[in-house]
Structure formats: C-alpha cells, structure tokens
C-alpha cells in the first residue's frame, strides 16, 4: 500500500548504490515481514480505518460526534483526567525505576539476573490476580487502610479513586520503565563519571551533568511507553476505579456497550489516538534534542 511506496526512495538509493551480493539477502528480508504486515493490515489497519470512518459517518456524516465530545460535559473532563493520571503514573514509575535500573548496571551479573527476574515477575503473574490483589489491599479495612489507621490516620480507602488506580498502575507499569532505562544506562561509559570526578566535580554534579543527560534517551522512551500504555488502560481502572472517576477507556466502554454509540466511541478513540501520536511526536523531537546533547557530552 502506501507504506512501502513512501519508504521506497531511500531503499532505492541504497539498493542502487549498494554492492550486488547484498540484494538477495534484502529480498529475503522483505519476505520475512510479510506475515506481520498481513496481520497488521487485517487485524489493525482495517478495523482502525473502519472505526475512524464510522466516527465521521455514524449516525450522520460530518463532525457531529466530535462536536458532541466537546459539549457532552464528560468527555473533556475524562480526557484531561486520563492525561493527568498518565503523567502522574509515568512520573512515579520513573522515580521508582530510575535508581533500580541504575543499580542494575552497578551489580554483578548474578545480581543483575536476580533484579531482572524480580522486575519481570509481575509479567508472569496474571493481570487479574495482580489487580484483585490491589483490590484487597485498597479496600476499606484492607492492609493500606489498616496501616494508616494504626498511625492514627483513618479512612484511607484508595479503592474507587484515581490515586488507587494510579498506585496499581505504577506497579503494573514498572517493567516497561525499568527495561528501557536499563538498556539505555548499560551503554553509558562509567569511566565518564570517573573522569568528571577526577577533574574535580563533586559526585552529584558528575551525575547531574554527565550521567543524567546520557540516560535521558532511556528516560524518554520509558516515559513515553508508560504514558501511552496508561492512556488506554482498561482493566485496572475498571476494577479499582469508579464510574465517578472514570478514565477514557471506561467511557469508551460505556459508549459501546451501553449506548451502542459506535460513532461516538470511535470519535473518542480517535481523539485518544491523536493525543497519543502528538505525545509521540513531541517526545521524538525531545529525543533528537537529547541525542544531540549526548553527542555533545561524549565529544567533550
């Protein structure tokens, strides 16, 4: 379709200029992505196009579904709430994951293996089991409520609130933050820090001026990944949240399953997708920036 044509010129340029023996291998590579492409076309691109088309045509052609989003008194509130929650979750995940990933680069291979397993452990646990565990912890008289009551703060029931959802999401999202951070940090030459200290920088400044900028690409990719996953999260808000503080996925579910408003739900989904793409675009601009910083620092 349009994708191969769009990417064609560079392929042609390298293909034309490249030596002849490289060709057969490339041809093979083209074949290898066929199953994935077919799968994406049938089960992602086509339904997605259908959803977007429907958001402009159902029940009547035009922007009706989109103007309705602005005026129904819910969608904008919920969208903003979802974005804010996504930012908070990503930030909290980052704060927890950064030192963890840093430590992973500092310990021996055995320690690193252990830490990787610990991070991946939630992946091997059923999503539902994890969410229900949080349900038990967060409910009235649950562990969290009891712990706060013991120190004299009563009524800390996180269940059914955005903070309750956010806490659980942070836990679910940790691997998505730790792994990109780690792979970014692993590539940082530790001798740069030694160099900085030997030139008289205190440890914190060596970290802030040398290490932190070098780790930014990992931070950005982890942050983006978590933020985008959070935007579309359904299971955790549906179980631990409440209809009063619903996130966008819950609202879409209501529109589809209760109102059978496929057009309206499609419009909301399209807006969410647009916001996500926008976030990706902004981040990619920053990523370019940070990789230039990286170059600058390494060249120093």
């Amino acid at each position: 379709m349009s994708a191969p044509t769009a990417s064609a010129p560079p392929v042609a340029a390298t293909g034309g200029a490249g030596p002849a023996p490289a060709r057969p291998r490339r041809r093979m590579a083209g074949w290898f992505i066929l199953p994935a492409t077919a799968l994406l076309l049938v089960f992602f691109c086509y339904p997605l196009a259908f959803v977007i088309w429907r958001s402009f045509t159902d029940p009547s052609a035009g922007l009706g579904n989109y103007t309705a989003l602005l005026h129904d008194g819910v969608s904008t509130t919920v969208l903003v709430r979802t974005l804010v929650t996504g930012l908070i979750v990503s930030a909290c995940t980052l704060v927890i994951a950064y030192p963890y990933a840093y430590t992973m680069t500092r310990v021996g291979p055995r320690g690193r293996n252990l830490m990787t397993v610990v991070v991946l452990l939630p992946f091997w646990t059923s999503m539902m089991a994890r969410n229900f565990a949080w349900y038990m912890l967060e409910q009235r008289g649950g562990l969290i409520d009891d712990a706060f009551s013991a120190v004299g703060i009563h009524g800390v029931v996180l269940l059914g609130s955005v903070p309750g959802v956010a806490v659980a999401m942070v836990q679910v999202m940790l691997p998505f933050m730790v792994l990109p951070l780690y792979s970014g940090m692993e590539g940082i030459d530790k001798r740069l820090l030694d160099a900085a200290t030997s030139l008289g920088a205190p440890r914190w400044r060596a970290f802030a001026r040398v290490y932190l900028p070098l780790s930014l690409p990992g931070v950005l990719s982890g942050f983006t990944l978590v933020f985008i996953l959070t935007l579309g999260f359904y299971v955790t808000p549906a179980l631990l949240g409440s209809p009063q503080e619903s996130l966008v996925a819950q609202l879409i579910a209501t529109q589809v399953s209760k109102l059978l408003d496929f057009g309206g739900a499609g419009a909301l989904g399209t807006v969410l997708l647009a916001v996500t793409l926008l976030a990706l675009f902004v981040v990619s601009r920053f990523a370019n920036l940070s990789s230039t910083t990286e170059k600058a620092v390494t060249n120093d």
Binding site: G15, G30, T37, V74, G141, P243, E245
Partner: protein, 354 residues
C-alpha cells in the same frame, strides 16, 4: 525503478495472502451460524452460574419435549448483537436482555413476537411489549447492615438518602435503569403513580445528597462482595445478589417500604434463522413450572405473582411477592426507559463525572 520490481511481487503476494485471510475469516463467520444445520438454538445470557440455572429450568424441559438442543453463549452484549444484525450474520437465537433494551431495540435489532405462539395474556399488565415478554422478575431492595444501625434501623426509602440521620457508606447498582432514580424520587415524596415520566432534575438533586458517600458499583459481583465484606452499610441490592450475600453470612436486612421491580425478557435478535423455534422456546419458558423452577434456582421472581416457588428461608426473606410486601412493589416503566435510556445514561455519566 529496481525497487518497484523488488517490491512488486511482495505486494502481490501479500495482497493474495490478505484476500485469503479475509476469505477464510468471512467463511468462518458464515459457518458460525451453521448451527442451523442441526436446528439447535443458541441461547445467550450472563454466564455461570445464572445461565446454568436457565439451562436447568428452561432448556432441559424444552429439549425433552421437542428434541431441540441448545448451544450456550455469553455474555449478553447488546453491542455485539447490534454488530451481528448490521453485518447480517446473526448467530444468536435467544438473548436474555432487560425489558428496557427490548423496548429500545424492538424492530431494530430485535424481532417482533408472534403472539399466536406466545400467549401474552398470562403476564402482568404493562409488562408485554411487541418484541418481548417477561422471562423473570427481580427486585431492587433497600438493605442495611443491622450491626451498624442496631437499635435505630432505617424504615423508609427516604432514609437511604438521609446521610445525617443514617450516616454510612452506600452502594448502588451498576445499571441506571434498575431503580436508583425511582428510589430517589419516591424518597423525595413523588407518589408512586406519578413516577413516570421521571423528573430527572429532581432525581439528580436528590442523588447529590448521597454522592459523596456512595460507591457506584461497576459490577453486581462487586455489590455482593462489598456486602459480604461489610465494605458498605446500606445499598440498593438486587435480590439474587442479596440472596448470595445473606447465604454467605452478610448481616443485612431488607427495608420493605418501596421495592423497585424490574424484569428481563427473552428476545430474538433480528435475522435469527430459528425464529419459530425460538418463539416456541420463549412460550415454553414462561410456563408455570419452568418459571417456578427458575425462581428457586436463581433466586428471582416468577413471571406472575400467582406462581408460588418453593423458596428457601433466605429467598423468603427477600421475596417481594410475599403477601405482606405486596404494597411495596413499584414496577418500572420499561417503555419509558426504552425511549429515554440513552439520554438518561449520558446524563448519569456526566453527573457521575461532574
């Protein structure tokens, strides 16, 4: 130019592959309705254990009588039904749905009934629509934790909305159409016979009073669980869920001031290939025996008050059809809900998130 030659065959092959996948997909969708071949009916409900009770009470006798077998599917998803009808690939034959949904989708996604097959005269007045007859009734009962309110228990539906006199956590059902607005208006003094059309402004104003202390349940399972775990102090409970909670030892008592009674219909998705058999099944399920059996198994109410199921002690405590509770019954207006469901749902969602 070379790249076009190289990409050309790949595109062609992928297009062929795409076509093959699509063809296979459409074949399999087509075949899904191939259940017609053996003449069996696909019955769709909310899943175990409720659907097992329906199989036991309704499907078994029908199969014994006619030889027609059932395939059970679930959950009930009106969005899926809409998609099936629009795509003209209807694989469901009988669907358990709310009476309001029947009214709302009658003729659109749901077949009209042939009343020469289904006898509509046996049902309570005002409960029959062109597309559905009641399959069972259920009640939304105001219940409270007797340990919490001990010597000064609530006695009226108004007490549910009185947070000063009766402080405590409330819970209300995940569906708006099962009685929350009716309860609010009755509590606010609207006479029972003047309930419809619902005065939404007044109802939401009343609901504002409890919004801060109320859990708006996401599922009925959650309501049951919160009752058992004493996470809430009072609630508008559906009787089947309240029954399970009472049996599990939840210390709750019903208040028999006003009880909202709703019902489900069995409907036939438009374009079902087994329309006739499906209607015969609906007629059979509304027999006295199947209805009584269903009520006993699932702790719901029979299709008419003259049917006396053999209720156990917990079911008896929640039986809105018991003679002493008869005056408390407020039947919802399914036709009004059918017309206004979307509008009310939108407003409710906005109110919740406001």
């Amino acid at each position: 130019m070379r790249h076009t030659r190289r990409i050309g065959p790949a595109v062609r092959v992928s297009a062929a592959g795409l076509a093959a996948v699509l063809a296979a997909a459409s074949c399999s969708i087509g075949n899904a309705s191939g259940g017609d071949d053996d003449g069996s009916l696909t019955f769709v409900s909310t899943g175990a254990p409720f659907q097992d009770y329906q199989a036991e009470a309704w499907q078994k006798p029908f199969t014994a009588e006619t030889g027609i077998k059932f395939r059970n599917d679930g959950p009930v998803d009106e969005a899926k039904m809409k998609t099936m009808v629009e795509a003209r690939k209807v694989t469901w034959d009988v669907v358990d749905t709310s009476a309001a949904a029947t009214e709302q989708y009658c003729g659109k996604y749901v077949e009209k009934l042939d009343f020469s097959i289904v006898d509509k005269s046996i049902f309570p007045p005002g409960t029959v629509s062109e597309c559905g007859v009641p399959a069972f009734f259920y009640s939304t009962i105001f219940m409270f934790n007797k340990q919490k309110y001990g010597a000064n228990p609530p006695t009226k539906i108004a007490d549910f909305f009185d947070v000063k006199k009766y402080p405590g956590k409330r819970i209300v059902p995940p569906e708006i159409a099962v009685g929350l607005l009716e309860a609010a208006l009755l509590a606010d003094g609207v006479p029972q016979d003047k309930l419809y059309p619902l005065d939404l402004d007044r109802a939401f104003k009343k609901l504002d009073q409890i919004k801060g202390v109320t859990t708006f349940a996401q599922t009925y399972g959650q309501m049951q669980q919160m009752m058992v775990d004493k996470q809430i102090d009072m609630g508008l409970m559906l009787n089947a869920r309240a029954y399970q909670a009472l049996k599990a030892g939840a210390p709750f008592e019903p208040v028999w001031d006003k009880t909202i009674v709703n019902w489900d219909d069995l409907v036939i998705p438009k374009g079902s290939k087994n329309k006739e058999q499906a209607m015969k099944f609906i007629a059979s399920a509304s027999g006295e025996k199947p209805s009584a059996r269903m009520s006993e198994l699932a702790s719901v109410l029979p299709i008419k008050e003259s049917i006396k199921p053999n209720f156990d002690q917990y079911q008896q405590r929640l039986n809105a059809y018991a003679p002493e509770h008869k005056d408390s019954i407020v039947r919802t207006d399914a036709a009004w809900w059918g017309q206004n469901f979307d509008m009310v749902t939108k407003r409710y969602t906005a109110w919740l998130n406001g």
